[in-house]
Symmetry: C2
Subunit: 196 residues, 2 copies
Amino acid sequence: MPQNTSTYHQQFRKHLERVVLIDDEAFEEIIQCFSIKEISKKDYLLRPFQVCRYESYIIKGLFQTTMIDDEGRQHTLHFPHEDWWVGDFKSFRKEQESNMEIFAVEDALLLQISKSAMYQLFDISPAFERFFRIMAENAAMALQDRLLKNYSHNAESKLLEFQKKYPSLKNRLSQKQIASYLGVTPEYFSQMVKKK
Amino acid sequence: MPQNTSTYHQQFRKHLERVVLIDDEAFEEIIQCFSIKEISKKDYLLRPFQVCRYESYIIKGLFQTTMIDDEGRQHTLHFPHEDWWVGDFKSFRKEQESNMEIFAVEDALLLQISKSAMYQLFDISPAFERFFRIMAENAAMALQDRLLKNYSHNAESKLLEFQKKYPSLKNRLSQKQIASYLGVTPEYFSQMVKKK
DNA sequence: AAAAACGCTTAAGGTAGTTTAATTTTTTAC
DNA sequence: GTAAAAAATTAAACTACCTTAAGCGTTTTT
């Protein structure tokens, strides 16, 4: 149960200020548009074929964002966690059914904003829009890196890369979950770690 | 040789206005920050280890953006063409050496903007910054789709997808180039099209 | 016009990762 | 604390795609 809201607000403000300058007044305008949401381990933040109505800043917790393909295999896009964002951006922006599902791997606490509130904020606060421009650029750069690494690296070096990039996630996820992020079967993953 | 500059300006303005509203005055401010550049077939827009100093709007032409991995294999990120943008965004924004190379597949004509000019424009024109927020979001969505398709589809269905998405590129690229985009060898590509 | 470079094809042998299925170990739920 | 469910392991057969290598046609360079 959230006890001290202002602590979360401070954390969120720091997150924004790592990217853009925000004065007290502007932050007040921004934070008013967000609402807090708790979500328990194993609960869904977004089910397949739902429209994603919120972008959510993660105060605490861990999620898994997956896509189920035509053969029923599950592929993991990523594991959003503390001090980052979670949502299906395509579904959010186009207001169309999502082909992704998002669920909580650990109990989580979120700050959520709706699309209409976000677009209103963009109109009154250029700093807020700049923040999301830079976030989108960062997301595109990270995805490009990952795509190219998928072309050029085998499963073993992708695993090393993952462990190096997200050392804290190692103990919070099962082998099966990491395998699904790397794009290999749990059986092959098991063989791979044994061999090492 | 560019003969009628205003035609290109009109094309570029239409491109911007598909996303944001721009009045005459704002467009004048924007277009002043761009310079025109010609580049011939086979010439490099960006060589490996260079810093990418410009983002370029493509008036006409076709490029290939590739990455050379540690084993010397070439992987194609994409084929930027008319009415789109070309550059290595990561190198551009961080002003660091690029691990990509970009060269013209066909003679091309560009409108180029430097980083300092772009950042100045962001400060004086929120519409221009909004345009790039939306561009970055689109890029991230497209890369996410492509990444997930790489996990779930084999080479044959990735080829069908490519042909469906870029029907006009089929005749402008060699099999070898398309193979490098799909992430397979030219030899396997050849077998694949024969089998079909 | 000749030489060189490049792109496409074909084929044989090889490998990274999959599939299936059975067994064991760990985690979850009441 | 125990039953049930899920995760991890192991192994054998299989497949999508790679590597190498050689030959041929076309384009580019000189």
